[in-house]
């Protein structure tokens, strides 16, 4: 169980990205975070594994206070939390396989990393993960040679080899076309349902939210303004919509 308590983030520039955000995520949930660009979705996700240091508040995961961890403790927690990025964030000049193997960095002896060495079982695990996302034959290509959808699948494979209990996905499909978006979301759903991995994912498209979410929270200007289930989104009122997306927002389709 993940508990976010009174989370606040103020950047050095003075921007208040998150303001007193509290919510709880049960194990095995598929939580989707919605909100406009700049509403604090990325900051929230990055605060959970402290890629961004929260200014105030606590994040407690399975009774571990992540916000109070020292560096070593933080690394141990991070390796159990996968992260999938909008821009994939692969190391373009390295082979696909190495990019996936990077997911094991939290587990291997750091000195081996000086020589880019990974134990054989890690290599097998990485190849397995690549096969699961259907990219086994690309293992030795450079990451830069892949298309956008392939890159995101490598990103998911990298998160997979971490053997994560939780997966954070920051707009994982925003850079992809609708068909690819569904296939990537499909991978995430399978992980959620087959392996019971808790997923926190920020999204823009409400149809995807309706399709995949078990729970939804909405952020606006760094505040939590909406909480509901995937079912609730389908029955969302215009007021609720405007609460999340602002007074000028128009609902299209529905």
């Amino acid at each position: 169980m993940l508990r976010v308590e009174h989370l606040t983030k103020v950047y050095d520039t003075g921007t208040v990205a998150l303001k007193d955000v509290s919510f709880t995520v049960e194990d095995g949930e598929f939580l989707i975070i919605i909100g406009l660009s700049g509403s604090g979705k990325s900051t929230l996700l990055r605060s959970i594994n402290r890629l961004i240091e929260p200014t105030e508040g606590r994040i407690v995961w399975n009774d571990i206070d992540i916000t109070a961890l020292d560096e070593a403790g933080l690394r141990r927690v991070r390796r159990e939390i996968g992260f999938v990025f909008q821009e994939f964030n692969l190391v373009e000049r390295l082979p696909v396989l190495t990019n996936v193997l990077a997911g094991r960095l939290g587990y291997v002896n750091p000195w081996w990393s000086l020589f880019y060495y990974f134990p054989p079982q890690d290599q097998r695990r990485a190849l397995d993960a690549l096969a699961q996302v259907g990219l086994a034959e690309k293992a030795h290509n450079r990451a830069s040679a892949l298309s956008g959808g392939q890159k995101q699948r490598v990103g998911i494979a990298r998160a997979l080899v971490q053997n994560p209990k939780m997966l954070l996905a920051d707009e994982p499909v925003a850079s992809l076309d609708p068909v690819l978006a569904h296939s990537i979301m499909g991978y995430l759903e399978r992980l959620n349902q087959e392996r019971g991995i808790t997923i926190l994912c920020s999204l823009h498209y409400l149809d995807l939210v309706q399709r995949y979410a078990t729970r939804v929270i909405g952020l606006r200007d760094g505040r939590l303004v909406y909480e509901g289930t995937g079912e609730d989104i389908r029955n969302m009122t215009d007021e609720e919509f405007k609460q999340i997306y602002g007074e000028e927002a128009q609902r299209l389709g529905g």
Binding site: D70, R75, R78, P110
Partner: protein
Amino acid sequence: MNAKRAFYAFLSLLVPGLGQMAAGAVARGIYILLGTATLWGLTVFTAAQRARFPEQVYGLSFAVLTRLFLAALVTLAVLRLVYEAVARRLFPTDDEFARRVANVLFVVVAVVVFSLSGPMMLQWAVPPGASRSLYTTVLLIMAVVLAGIWWWAVLDAWALAEAKARAEPSPSWNGFIALVLVGTLVLGTRIVGIDLPKAIREYKETGRILGDIVWPWRAAFDYEATELRATALVQAPCPEGETGPPVNEPKEGEPWVVVTPTCGDLSVRDTKGKLQYGTLLHIRGGGFVPGKVVKIKWENPIGNEFTPRGLGPTEIEVGPDGTFESELYIPDVVIPSFAEGPQIHKLHAVQPGALRFTGKLSREMKLALQAMLESIMIGLMATFAGMLFAIPMSFLAARNLTHSLRTSPQGLVGGVFGLVLGGALGWLLARQVAAWLGGLDKAPVTVALVGFVLVLGGAVLGFRLLGAALDRLSRRLPGWANAAIRYGGFALIGAALGWPLGLGYAHGILGIAWDPAEVAAAAPDFARLGAGLGALAWLYLAYRWGDQGVVPIGHWIYTATRTVLNVVRSIEPLIWGLVGVIWVGLGPFAGFIALTIHTIAALGKLYSEAIESIHPGPIEAIQSTGANRLQTIMFAVLPQVLPHFTAFSLYRWDINVRMSTVIGLVGGGGIGFLLIQWIRQVQYEHAGLAVWLIAITVSTLDFVSATIRKRIV
């Protein structure tokens, strides 16, 4: 209102800029005053410098400039009045273009007037006793410029007051800037000693030398002289009864020369310098090439060959049958006083032939090639050594890597104590190891390396371990304990930093003026004072930060590294070359040291900028897998920066080879050493060889490195 303006204008007439200051434009006034004063001082200085004993003519120069200045001031005022009267009538005042034309005309008229009246003004201004050559046109021009500035300041004060009254923007600086520029340029030609006539007069000699440098390739090879030569022996002096060496016989098929007699007396120069002829020799030769000249040369007993002058013909044309005949007095060879008895001299008949190309490189060319190789190697080695140090430094000088390094004030206390403790432990350990290895003299490199690694490693390890430990501990400690650690630790740190600063102030600043004994006596007090002040300053910091404070050590490390890199980089390699020569003596090693130091700084900066420009995304991604700092660098940073590093290193190699060709000028080895030597020996052909080799090497390398860089990036 007009009275006020006039007052400001008058103030600026007394002291330029004063009116502006009074009118409220203080900065403007100061600029005008400083500009005028500087120009005035420079003019006096420049004029006086031309005298052999300048300190005696400063006053005189000042007086002459003042008189010229007053004359120019009055002349300008008169001209301006005439201009106002005439221009008002000729040009309508509201026409901008006409006003500009009038202004240009005014300048032209002023130049004409001053050129005509200049000699008179100089005549009047320079006192009769003073050397006229010291005070020439330059001084006159400067006086006119200064007078122009003066009047400009007056008019500007007036216009400024007007603009201020109407709340308009201040009038433009253009006139002032133009005048100062003209004055500076005129002074510049004198100080630099720009002398166009000289440059034009001397072009012929330059052309000859340049020719040697532009095409020196004859000097790159050895030539064999294919001369015909025949030799006869002559004994001198000739005591009674001696006949000297046997007379030569004419030979068939090769050059020969027969001299009779083969024994005689030397010519002698008497005390008045008049030549008393010695024995007249009859010379007959054959077997030479017909129609060409044979030269007669004399070789004294110790082997010096020379052409005798005024003792008979020394260049004789060979007849159609290959023979010649001539006569020569035995020359006046100076015989050392200790040489006793008769000596054997040689007479050569020499017919110079064509120089034969041997195809072998000349000694100088071989030297130049060798030195060129040395230069390339200096550049290569310095690049590699520089890379070795620049890579770790560049990580410390990259903002995006260091800015996340933060700690609590308590962590800082722990870190600093760990640093000192670890360093000290490393030092003790290093001393043990050094003693075991047999001391610095026995194994200098090993001992220095072990010492460096142990002390640095100990310091870094101590910093990290104790810093992290205290940082973690402080989260569990009660507030009073944290405060105790913070205040106590900071006071100690401040004192430790202030102590050497106090000592440095005593020795470095007071030591300039004070007697050394006094300094030594007072130094401990200053050290204590420094420590006290440092402790106070850091106690204030401890108070400011509080126990929740964030200490940006990463930013400190970044700033410190950047500062060191910038300072080192701003010192030219040639200067580092001097340091290297003092350190390890003349030769390529000194050049290597110089280039390495500069390379570390230059590459450190370039590398760190490459690191700063990488995508932050992969770093985030690698960090979120639980990777530590080293792994993040290996997986997210290095792959991104490696191509840039390679490109920059190649570029630097290119620069280093270019620099290594001149590092020899200060004794740093390589081809520059030969180049400067040959230039000083006026061997321009050989210098030309060096220049050519440098040009070929540099442009080749430039091409190669550019090609490789294009492929990588």
